[in-house]
């Protein structure tokens, strides 16, 4: 009977193996994949039901056709078989049953393959996605390369990756991530190969970095150090890609795998190598910004020191000049003509101006270097105002200016360095005197205000915003030339003396107001100004009320 099928198969060029021995069938099924298994039901009792056990593992891969003319078929068998072929079928019918089953099996196989590809592709997409989010999360270049290698492992499961990096350390580094241990000889060969690959990238043109295989630094990570690779490694399938973005070159990466890489693997590899370049550039830019900032800070400090040294060196010769002029002007060296007296006075006035500028420069450099000492104690602001008014009364008188003090009632003390306050107020008052035409009036006002009641020009909103609680506010109001609105914002900038012919004429270092601002910052206060062109300016500063003093007073009044 079985011979009939054998002939039929051979005639249609199907390969065929025949056996009636259960043991041999089992071995055959283990060794080979069969597309179709023809099972004769007309075997000794129980043979077929027994054979089904060995068929179980192959049931998904192979179609099982049962040849039978019995009407009763054991239930075990019914579950496993794909079709019945009655024994009295004609050859054509048998053949068509075989063909149909074969075709169906082929379709199923194709479907399964497509499914597998889809799953692999989905997995790769997920990996790529997770790598990109990892890339976006760091500005550390070594970590970026680690993420890249991790990603390659997840997506392609490599045997070895050789990453040549020019961007993570001062020198080029070869980062090896290997499944197995690498001997020194193999390592040398890998280094040579990497250097060759790198040079080949630039095709005879000058490569962006020097690279020498003898001095190349290597960082090696081995997953299973118990085993080792030999030179057959170079017969593995491999892929190579530069890590670069436009003209920025960061390194290159080569990947080895014992199995073959598919076209999709290649695409995935290129994508990952390309993807890491952008965050590497961002990280490089970020690092450059940090370094530039550090350099700027260093320069700023150097500048302060320079100013301090220069100012000191200027003082000594200036002293000699001043002294000589003083002696000549005193008449101790003989009588002076009116003209020589006039010019000596001019020289003396300018020497004094120069010394003022040097003092300002020294102050600002000291404040900026954090070296200015402050001696805080409770201060009555009225005392400071009166002192400064009397110190500058000569200057005011020269221009016939009236300086009026309008004192607020019951002003509390402020916690301040009185000398620095005098410096600030002297600066504001002498500015007011300079910029006010002859015969007008200057008012120095002092009042107690809560931060919420302090109003200022919109330019100084930020300045006012930080104030909290109660302040003693001092204003110096003049009837001078005023400051244009667009210049108001820069009134407290260094060297930004508001440019106009008058400011040129009256001179000054351009540092008085910036110094005042810094001094008030040190007092946790604020300084700002209101001004109207040709109507006058009001420079105001606020000092926090000495809270401890108020509490002391309360205690006193309770007692």
């Amino acid at each position: 009977m079985i011979e009939k099928y054998a002939d039929l198969c051979r005639a249609n060029s199907y390969e065929l193996q025949i056996s009636s021995n259960a043991k041999i069938i089992e071995e055959m099924l283990e060794a080979e994949n069969f597309d179709i298994i023809l099972l004769d039901n007309d075997m000794p009792e129980g043979f077929c039901t027994n054979i089904v056990k060995s068929l179980k593992p192959v049931m998904e891969k192979s179609g099982i056709l049962l040849l039978t003319d019995k009407n009763e078929i054991p239930k075990e068998l019914l579950k496993s078989i794909n079709a019945f072929i009655p024994k009295d079928f004609t050859d054509d019918l048998i053949l068509s049953a075989l063909n149909i089953n074969l075709r169906m099996k082929g379709s199923l196989q194709k479907l399964a393959n497509t499914n597998k590809d889809l799953a692999a592709s989905l997995y790769r997409q997920n990996t790529l996605y997770s790598i990109s989010s990892q890339f976006a999360g760091t500005l550390d270049k070594s970590q970026l390369l680690e993420f890249m290698i991790e990603g390659l492992d997840k997506a392609l499961s490599f045997s070895l990756t050789c990453t040549l990096s020019f961007c993570t350390e001062d020198e080029p580094v070869l980062i090896l991530n290997s499944l197995y241990e690498i001997s020194d000889e193999l390592l040398n060969a890998i280094k040579l190969r990497t250097v060759y690959n790198y040079r080949a990238l630039f095709d005879g043109k000058c490569a962006p970095f020097e690279l020498n295989e003898n001095t190349l630094k290597v960082i090696k990570t081995v997953k299973y150090p118990a085993s080792r690779f030999n030179f057959t490694l170079f017969q593995f399938d491999n892929m190579f890609a530069p890590i670069a973005l436009g003209e920025n070159f960061y390194g290159c990466v080569e990947i080895f795998k014992e199995a073959h890489f598919s076209a999709e693997d290649a695409k995935c590899f290129q994508t990952i190598a390309q993807q890491v370049a952008l965050p590497l550039r961002n990280a490089t830019l970020y690092q450059e910004i940090i370094e530039t900032n550090k350099k700027l800070e260093r320069l700023e400090k150097l500048k302060s020191e320079f100013i301090s040294i220069v100012s000191h060196e200027l003082r000594t010769p200036l002293t000699s000049i001043k002294n000589s002029l003083d002696i000549l002007l005193s008449g101790k060296c003989g009588d002076l003509t009116e003209a020589s007296s006039k010019f000596l006075t001019m020289a003396k006035r300018n020497a004094a101006r120069l010394s003022g500028i040097i003092n300002d420069l020294l102050d600002i450099s000291k404040i900026e270097a954090g070296k200015m000492d402050f001696h805080f104690k409770p201060v009555r602001i009225q005392t400071v105002i009166e002192y400064v008014k009397s110190a500058l009364s000569g200057l005011a008188k020269e221009k016939s200016l009236e300086v009026v003090i309008r004192e607020g009632e019951q002003l509390p003390e402020v916690n301040a360095d009185s000398q620095r306050l005098e410096q600030v107020l002297t600066n504001l008052l002498s500015n007011a005197i300079k910029f006010t035409p002859e015969g007008r009036r200057i008012t120095i006002k002092s009042e107690l205000l809560n931060a919420t009641d302090i109003k200022a020009h919109p330019c100084f909103e930020e300045t006012i915003k930080k104030l909290r609680g109660n302040y003693v506010v001092v204003s110096v109001e003049d009837e001078g030339i005023g400051i244009a609105e667009n210049e108001l914002l820069h009134a407290f900038d260094k060297f930004a003396q508001i440019e106009n012919s008058l400011s040129r004429k009256v001179g000054g270092s351009g540092l008085g107001l910036p110094i005042a601002k810094q001094l008030l910052d040190a007092h946790n206060g604020a300084i700002w100004c209101d001004s109207e062109l040709n109507r006058g300016s009001a420079f105001r500063f606020a000092l926090p009320v000495d809270v401890t003093a108020i509490e002391k007073e309360k205690v006193l009044s309770i007692n």
């Binding site: 301090s308 000191h312 003082r315 002293t319």
Partner: protein, 126 residues
């Protein structure tokens, strides 16, 4: 005639020494000068002046050191000392040390102010 008060000026800046000497001489004081700390200290001990004007920054022995050495010595501790300072960074480093100076004059100073200060110490006995 009562002998003139003796003032010792010590500064390595000869121009400054000269202008101080000119003004003080003209006001009836007798001025002695030294141009470095070593000579200044030696002369101070020899002369026992009625007042000293000392520059802070000088080679070898600085003004603070001279002042300190003299003020520790009973023989000289009553000599008033006027210290000339330029507020330099090097000087800042020395600040905080006990100097014993009686007055500080900041460069650039006014000769009139110096004269007034000197008079304050030397003319009160008249």
């Amino acid at each position: 005639m009562e002998s003139m008060k003796k003032i010792l000026i010590v500064d390595d800046e000869t121009d400054i020494v000269e202008s101080l000497k000119f003004v003080l001489d003209a006001s009836g004081y007798s001025c002695y000068t030294a141009f470095n700390g070593e000579d200044g200290l030696k002369l101070a001990k020899e002369l026992v002046p009625d007042l000293m004007i000392l520059d802070v920054m000088m080679p070898k022995i600085n003004g603070y050191k001279i002042s300190r050495l003299l003020k520790y010595d009973n023989k000289y501790k009553n000599i008033p000392i006027l210290m000339i300072t330029a507020r330099s960074q090097e000087e800042d480093k020395l600040i905080g040390e006990e100097t014993g100076a009686d007055e500080y004059i900041t460069k650039p100073f006014d000769l009139d102010d110096v004269l007034k200060t000197v008079d304050k110490y030397l003319k009160k006995e008249d």
